[in-house]
């Protein structure tokens, strides 16, 4: 009986074992593939990796913004027994300042144990070598390389290139890619406006992770598309020349190829170090930047608004000529003042210029002539001409914070609830009062005067080697009107009694045309003016007039246009004009087409920066 029952039990046992074996077959062989797929999903994690940011070059192929490897020391917290001891020992090899220590203390509370903790960034080769030597005493410390944005020219190009910073909450919301570690966002300049080109496409990496999400290895990697290589129209050598010419002055200068609008130099002083922002800027540094009354953070060349002063006169002339309000030969008399509605408007010359025509009026920069011309042709005509010449309205320069010049009409002023006096029109005739513009607009204006074409200023020469071509169309001004304005500007520099003889070029066979300007920043009290002892040089710096100069050269076949604004420089003729002439000489000498035709001595003298 025992045998029978034991066999019964054995049969049951064999049946159960068989069922289990069958069940195993179902799971592993029949449903194996779908479970295998689940297992694969279990253990892999796809992550995106930040693409390399596009590099920026100048027109000669000089690197302006690149990615530099950033050597940093990390510590794997879980591989150390006593983190504090490791940090202290680390500090004896590579010094840690108070900020580093605070950051380490903060990170160690938030970061998960298997995520490496950053001890110190931007290690030098010396540091790396010393750390390598001391590796045995630093358990868990490892050296890793990330990238940081590098700006070899720092201050020189800070306003144009801008800078990058880690993305903030808003950036991440706008584009999820920004959440990837290592992503940077352009915060100013080309870095900001060309963000789309520079950013690139993120790659993906498929990693094997364990149950706790820790990365165990890499399975597959698809490299991202690095950001586009940008080539700018700038000439860095010229840019640095201009910077040196300006020296300590608070000024801005723009050099433009007046045939196509390529901006070859764009300087605003003083400047700032853009690398401060990528590495994190300290509060004191930031405060000193924003409280400086010379406004280092502002790119005055594109966002500084100044009254154009007398440099506006050729535009008024063109407006009047086009409106057939005057002819080039028509004479107006200047007794040194102009009375209108009980108000006396003065010429800069107390003695007057007599009866003069357009050519002379530009040459002497006679104010009274232009008071009358402005009155005769009206503000609408001046506005239209100024807008055509680029002085009113936005320009397509690839920079953020660019501001538009404005030459308002009575209509526009009234729309905003302001009153318009007849005197406003008169003041506008000499570029004062409500007329405002930027140095970039002035250079554009000079270019358009020089070539008679609607050139648009731009900084981008090519994107990923795709050249950006421009073919500016002619301006709606009759050729002879433009010629009249140009000849007046030629006279300013080259004829006797012109206002800017100091701007004459010291280059054989090359002549320049230009126009001076001095823009008052506050009214001169009548009593002071009439006392005859008024000299603006005696004013405090911030009340002195701005000095302006616009020019183009060569006169017979214009190649470059330059605008210079020296803040509180007092007089365009003495302060801005010589500077502009030096800058123009630099530009012309730098031009490979000219280097052969100019004598060797001239080139050497210009290259050697001595005049």
């Amino acid at each position: 009986m025992f045998t029978r029952r034991a066999l019964l039990i054995l049969a049951a046992q064999a049946g159960v074992m068989g069922t289990l074996a069958h069940h195993l077959y179902e799971m592993q062989v029949v449903h194996g593939d779908e479970l295998k797929e689940q297992a694969r999903r279990n253990r892999t994690s796809r992550r995106q990796i930040a693409p390399a940011r596009g590099e920026i070059y100048d027109r000669c192929g000089v690197l302006l913004a690149g990615n530099r490897p950033n050597w940093r020391a990390l510590v794997m917290v879980e591989e150390t027994t006593d983190l504090q001891a490791v940090v202290d020992r680390f500090a004896t090899i590579v010094p840690l300042d108070e900020r580093d220590r605070l950051r380490i203390e903060r990170d160690r509370k938030h970061v998960r144990r298997y995520v490496p903790l950053t001890l110190k960034e931007f290690l030098t080769w010396d540091d790396v070598a010393r750390l390598g030597l001391n590796a045995p005493t630093l358990p868990g410390v490892l050296i890793d390389v990330g990238t940081t944005r590098e700006y070899p020219f720092k201050e020189l190009l800070a306003h144009i290139i801008g800078y990058v910073a880690p993305p903030n909450e808003k950036d991440v919301q706008r584009d999820g890619i920004m959440a990837l570690p290592g992503m940077k966002v352009g915060r100013a300049g080309i870095e900001q406006t060309q963000e789309i080109h520079l950013r690139g496409q993120p790659g993906t990496v498929e990693m094997e992770v364990n149950a706790y999400g820790r990365v165990m290895g890499e399975l597959e990697r698809v490299e991202g598309q690095p950001g586009a290589r940008l080539e700018l129209t700038l000439d860095t050598t010229l840019q640095s020349r201009i910077r040196d010419r300006i020296g300590e002055r608070v000024a801005s200068a723009v050099v433009m190829d007046c045939r196509n609008g390529e901006v070859m130099g764009l300087v605003s002083t003083p400047s700032f170090d853009p690398t401060l922002f990528d590495g994190g800027i300290s509060r004191t540094q930031w405060n000193s930047l924003i409280t400086d009354q010379r406004t280092p953070l502002v790119d005055k060349a594109v966002s500084g608004l100044y009254p154009p002063g007398s440099t506006f006169k050729p535009a008024v002339a063109l407006a009047a000529l086009r409106a057939h309000a005057i002819t080039p030969s028509e004479r107006f008399s200047c007794p040194g003042y102009y009375d209108m509605g009980g108000v006396r408007f003065h010429c800069w010359s107390r003695y007057g210029h007599g009866a003069i025509n357009l050519h002379q009026a530009l040459k002497y920069s006679c104010d009274v002539y232009f008071y009358q011309v402005a009155r005769r042709c009206g503000m609408e005509a001046i506005h239209d001409a100024a807008a055509t010449l680029g002085l009113d309205g936005p320009l397509p320069i690839e920079l953020p914070h660019r501001r538009a010049g404005s030459v308002p009409t009575p209509e526009m002023r009234r729309k905003h609830g302001h009153h318009w006096n007849g005197g406003d029109t008169v003041n506008a005739g000499i570029g004062q009062g409500l007329v405002q513009t930027t140095p970039l607009a002035l250079a554009t204006y000079a270019s358009r005067l020089a070539t008679g074409r609607l050139v648009q200023p731009h900084l981008l020469r090519s994107v990923s080697d795709q050249a950006i071509m421009t073919d500016p169309e002619p301006l709606p001004f009759a050729k002879e009107f433009l010629a009249a304005a140009r000849s007046g500007m030629f006279a300013v520099v080259n004829e006797p009694q012109g206002t800017a003889p100091a701007a004459r070029l010291n280059l054989p066979g090359v002549q320049m045309a230009g126009k001076t300007g001095s823009a008052q920043v506050r009214n001169v009290p009548r009593a002071l003016r009439e006392s005859g002892h008024f000299n603006s040089m005696n004013l405090p710096w911030q009340y002195r007039p701005h000095a302006l100069f616009i020019c183009f050269a060569p006169y017979d076949n214009p190649r470059y246009a330059v605008s210079v604004v020296v803040e509180h420089g007092n007089a365009g003729a003495t302060e801005a004009a010589p500077l502009a002439a030096q800058i123009m000489t630099d530009a012309l000498v730098r031009d490979p087409a000219n280097r052969t035709s100019l004598s060797r001595g001239v080139v050497a003298r210009a290259d050697g920066l001595d005049d």
């Binding site: 034991a6 039990i9 064999a14 159960v16 074992m17 279990n42 364990n210």
Partner: protein, 384 residues
């Protein structure tokens, strides 16, 4: 045999002048070495699997387990040489000790995974419920041996063995360890069955069981109810309570027909698999060696179980038969509960795979049980 054998002074005297039927050397010769070889094979499988579970390092699990196995092997051979008479004499103290330990664990046990299952015995942890199974087998076999087959028909004679079975079952349930309590109960029942309990008695006992189901469920602990719920619907809480079942299924399925290769099971090596060195060791084997490996292990387990049953069947005396069947049943239940558990057939409970899973008390008590089995084999031809 009459009950007077159990008086203490005479027991001691008998032990001292134990008169073996066979000489020591010939007893050793009589040991079923084929069975020992099978057990060594199983331990070998365990070593290989634990080496992998330790991430390719022997020191983690494989080495300590091997040392324990060698110790267990010596104990098994020692027990195998004991005469059944001595074993019968020791059955009461062993049973008493197991009950004492079960009581102790309730009073001062270590809490592991929501249940008191362990007691600390001078440095190493011991799970009394494992030991209780073997003690019960020995106790019931001795009891049924003494009352003989004929008197099994008398229900009054079955009251005491029923109490002897229920006592450890209740104590283990209180720990609470539902899985092991069930195993203890089923072992006891199978011994009642094999010892010759009448069919009408069986029918009377079994018929009310289906109605007890809801009653038992209501008296389960919350974690046990949750276990049953998640077993029925693991997908409801894939990262919580259903995690073990889902991960085990996924890992087994990932093994496929041929496996992912030794030491290359992704789910196991990447810690997705919970408790891969103990309860879920079979999943690890299945993932790395595939269906082929899994079937080989199941086959080996079946072979050991079959050998145990054949040993029981070959025995000429009632005691040896019942001990053999009890041990075979114990081993079988271990295997089935563990395998069903990792395959997701029954709710998860802490039942290891004998001789493969990492752990001391399960292995040592199992080896002790195999010692009893081998002793039955050595004395297979003793008369009743």
């Amino acid at each position: 045999m009459p009950l007077k054998d159990f008086t203490v002074p005479r027991t001691a005297r008998r032990l001292l002048r134990a008169e073996p039927n066979l000489r020591m050397f010939s007893r050793l010769w009589q040991i079923n070495w084929f069975f020992v070889l099978l057990i060594c094979c199983l331990a070998g499988v365990g070593y290989i699997a634990l080496y992998s579970a330790g991430g390719g390092r022997a020191e983690a699990f494989a080495q300590p387990q091997l040392i324990r196995f060698c110790f267990g092997l010596l104990m098994m051979l020692g027990v195998a040489l004991a005469s059944p008479r001595v074993l019968r004499m020791l059955s009461v103290p062993i049973y008493g000790l197991s009950i004492l330990l079960l009581t102790l664990v309730l009073k001062m046990g270590h809490v592991g995974k929501g249940a008191e299952r362990w007691i600390n015995l001078g440095g190493f942890q011991f799970q009394p419920s494992e030991f209780a199974k073997i003690a019960l087998v020995l106790m019931l076999s001795t009891w049924f041996y003494r009352i003989g087959r004929e008197r099994m028909g008398n229900p009054l004679r079955l009251i005491i063995p029923a109490g002897l079975t229920l006592l450890p079952v209740v104590l283990v349930l209180k720990e609470p360890n539902l899985g092991t309590a069930t195993i203890v109960g089923v072992i006891g029942a199978s011994l009642f069955f094999a010892a010759g309990m009448r069919w009408w008695q069986i029918i009377i006992l079994v018929s009310p069981l289906p109605f007890l189901g809801p009653f038992i469920y209501n008296h389960l602990h919350d974690y046990q109810k949750a276990r049953i719920d998640t077993f029925l619907h693991p997908e409801r809480d894939p990262l919580g309570a259903g995690y073990n079942i889902l991960q085990s299924r996924i890992a087994l399925g990932a093994g496929g027909r041929w496996g992912q290769g030794y030491l290359h099971g992704t789910q196991g090596q990447l810690s997705f698999l919970p408790e891969k060195q103990t309860d879920f060791i079979f999943t690890m084997i299945g993932e790395e060696w595939g269906y082929v490996g899994g079937v080989v292990v199941i086959g080996l387990l079946f072979l050991i179980m079959l050998s145990s049953m054949l040993i029981a069947l070959r025995c000429r005396n009632r005691f040896g038969r019942l001990v053999g069947l009890g041990i075979a049943m114990d081993f079988f239940l271990y295997c089935v509960v563990n395998l069903s558990m990792v395959m997701g057939v029954i709710p998860v409970g802490g039942v290891p795979l004998p001789l493969i899973s990492y752990g001391g008390s399960a292995m040592l008590t199992m080896m002790f049980g195999f010692g009893l089995l081998l002793s039955s084999w050595v004395h297979r031809d003793d008369p009743d």
